[in-house]
Symmetry: C2
Subunit: 419 residues, 2 copies
């Protein structure tokens, strides 16, 4: 087979869709979503199905000590660093069919397509399914890729326990997925991950492919506003220290702050608790979460500093106590410019409207970007909804993203000819 | 005994304090408060102690069908309408020693003082302890006085059930306080109620007596703001329909509204619930309570109308749905001008700094004002705190309020001479 003819190579969109629908039956929920928490029996069933498909496609299956599943398609030169593509198959408790699953099955579809067309690559290609990306059952999130990249210690990951007290290590053993390979420790040629956008941008712009520039950095805070709990009737307005009113002002500041640090600034208050939370009592205390994101650590730093200033100013002006406690912090992670360009070029060649865009959510690719040139391919999802049973994506978009994945993987792995 | 000498008549502040402290032992909490919910065994114990004290003072004890306790000191003319004074002895779950209890025991102290000085009044005096003012266990609040005044049907009150399914009628029977007298149905000469302020005004102004002009009208609403639940990372600021941000703007409007309708306007958001209440999810829905108060029904009407306008404007501007549901409504209740003047005059004669003020909270006096000339006497409480185990009041203030009560009761009942 000649390089020239590969421009016409396309994945099989129906096969991809059928695999997605088959996998989605494991842990299917009545509302059309999937509940398949990491290292449960359902996760085992899904892993077995994916590994079965890998073996069917002639891939060598390997599991490492944190349960990451690698399925290798040998290259002409086995000594070359593999090009890895994949994602995860664990879900949120009320998750959907596509988040993660698409990235794994798109990678599988790429090798199925190469097999079908007897394409030989120079470097090996590995399909990966990372353990516990969601972090719903065991924290931290992105556990498998984090251990692989050396960002999370294996022993720390093993020790994580779910609400019932079961540890990651126990559950890996119980479901038979505690592998023998040491996580990581080998060079990676490149890493690609296809994923639904989990946001509304592509759909709104009627674009099909997102060439992901990197992920936003995140700062999480807990804010506690303390005033004076009083009866709502007898306390005149000018004698109140109303914690809810102070909180409302700061909640608005979180958004104003993000807008001042656009276009990639984000500010969200997702969680609010009011004490004593009684209809006729002026709240004495309000606790709320703050989620700040931006595309550079400097911008994030400036946002955090301004949030502290606003909190101090409000405390002073309203006679309230305001405590702002950092909860966690993830740096912004840019992806490899050549990988981004490759995704964009592939989309253009295939005639798919494409945009360079930032990922607001974390992905396994964040850790992989520390190890190897990394790129991500976004496709639209309906209404930007994910982490939800209503999560949905269109077959033609999933096919388009997978065609792009095929191209960038081929480009990185290098064409050796027919086999 | 001559009328002239009665100017020097004073209640016994120590006896009043001792009775308050004895009553507070029934249902005492470790933090110094009282938990004595209506129609519990503890309520029965407290009722028995108060009735015992009444019989000791030679009062005729009478219980009506809703469990209101009347203790009558006969007048020279038994045919005259009695002057009634009292309040309630049920408490909030984490209530204090003074709310309600003070009004009942101050009335008892008035008759004890009259006995001690052998004072005969023209009209009878009745000490009352109303059933279930707090409404913590059974709604509606101010149940006993409401039934007495014909505002609440006896059968409706009987049918009210607590969270365990026990009805008011069953519990009245169980504790032996289902009396035989028909509630109300007889003329009342006047009604007076002494009470802690439950607000911070008297303390802040270093005043001792509040001559209460009436109670604020109240409008309760439930507000539901519905936007679009989305992942906090991938959703750009200008593509959000963030229910929490819409709610924050309206929560601030509740306070701004009250300030525009001062000095007796009140606006409180005491209860907030966020869905799904997750740190990295833009809230799709926020529900919160609105408590609006003012001293005239016209002002309340205007406040409610402006709240509806603000809700509609925000919905339009922010692409949110905003529903504003009325929950309940109590009209403003002015007290009798002559009773207010009598309280003020008594305070002046006794040399206690006094202010005319509005009551922000509801009291049994609200229903009694529909039946008879009614007045209330407020005394300061520490930090304006009530409905709280930390509720506190100073003995000299309680004594002062009780001295005022003695004067106004005597003035209304009319002096007949010594007995």
């Amino acid at each position: 087979m000649q390089a020239r003819t590969l421009d016409h190579l396309r994945i099989d969109g129906e096969r991809l869709w059928d695999s997605l629908m088959q996998l989605a039956r494991i842990g299917a929920t009545p509302k059309g979503g999937v509940c398949r928490l990491a290292l449960t029996d359902l996760d085992r069933q899904a892993r077995e199905l994916v590994a079965h498909w890998g073996r069917e496609a002639g891939l060598q299956v390997r599991v490492d000590r944190i349960g990451n599943l690698f399925m290798r398609r040998e290259g002409r030169d086995p000594g070359r660093a593999p090009v890895i593509a994949g994602s995860h198959i664990d879900t949120q408790p009320t998750g959907g069919k596509f988040d993660g699953n698409y990235g794994v099955l798109a990678a599988l579809e790429v090798v199925r397509t190469l097999d079908e067309h007897r394409v030989q690559t120079e470097a090996p290609i590995e399909v990966v399914s990372w353990t516990n990306e969601e972090g719903s059952r065991f924290v931290p999130v992105m556990m498998g890729s984090g251990v692989f990249a050396g960002a999370i210690a294996l022993e720390q990951a093993y020790a994580a326990r779910d609400l019932d007290g079961h540890s990651v290590r126990e559950e890996l053993e119980r479901i038979g997925w505690l592998g023998e390979a040491a996580p990581g420790g080998f060079p990676v040629g490149a890493y690609f991950e296809a994923h639904i956008e989990q946001g509304p941008v592509l759909e709104a712009q009627q674009e099909v492919i997102g060439a992901v520039l990197g992920t936003l950095g995140v700062r999480w805070f807990d804010c506690t506003v303390t005033g004076m709990e009083c009866h709502a009737g007898p306390t005149p307005m000018d004698m109140r220290r109303d914690a809810m009113q102070g909180a409302a002002a700061l909640i608005q500041e979180v958004v104003a702050l993000a807008r001042r640090h656009g276009p990639n600034g984000r500010g969200t208050v997702g969680m609010v608790q009011v004490f004593p939370n009684s209809r006729n009592v002026i709240p004495g205390q309000v606790k709320f979460s703050i989620d700040l994101r931006n595309d550079s650590d400097a911008a994030l730093e400036a946002m955090a500093a301004q949030m502290h200033e606003s909190a101090a100013r409000l405390a002073q002006a309203a006679g309230l106590r305001v405590a702002l406690e950092p909860v966690s912090s993830y740096p912004a992670q840019p992806f490899d410019p050549q990988c981004v360009a490759a995704v964009e070029r592939a989309a253009q060649q295939l005639g798919h409207p494409c945009r360079r865009m930032i990922s607001g959510a974390g992905h396994d690719a964040v850790y992989m970007a520390r190890l190897a040139p990394t790129g991500m391919i976004f496709v639209p999802c309906r209404d930007g909804v994910s982490h939800n049973e209503l999560e949905d994506a269109r077959p033609e978009h999933l096919r388009a993203g997978c065609d792009v994945l095929l191209r960038v993987v081929l480009e990185r792995a290098g064409l050796a000819g027919a086999r």
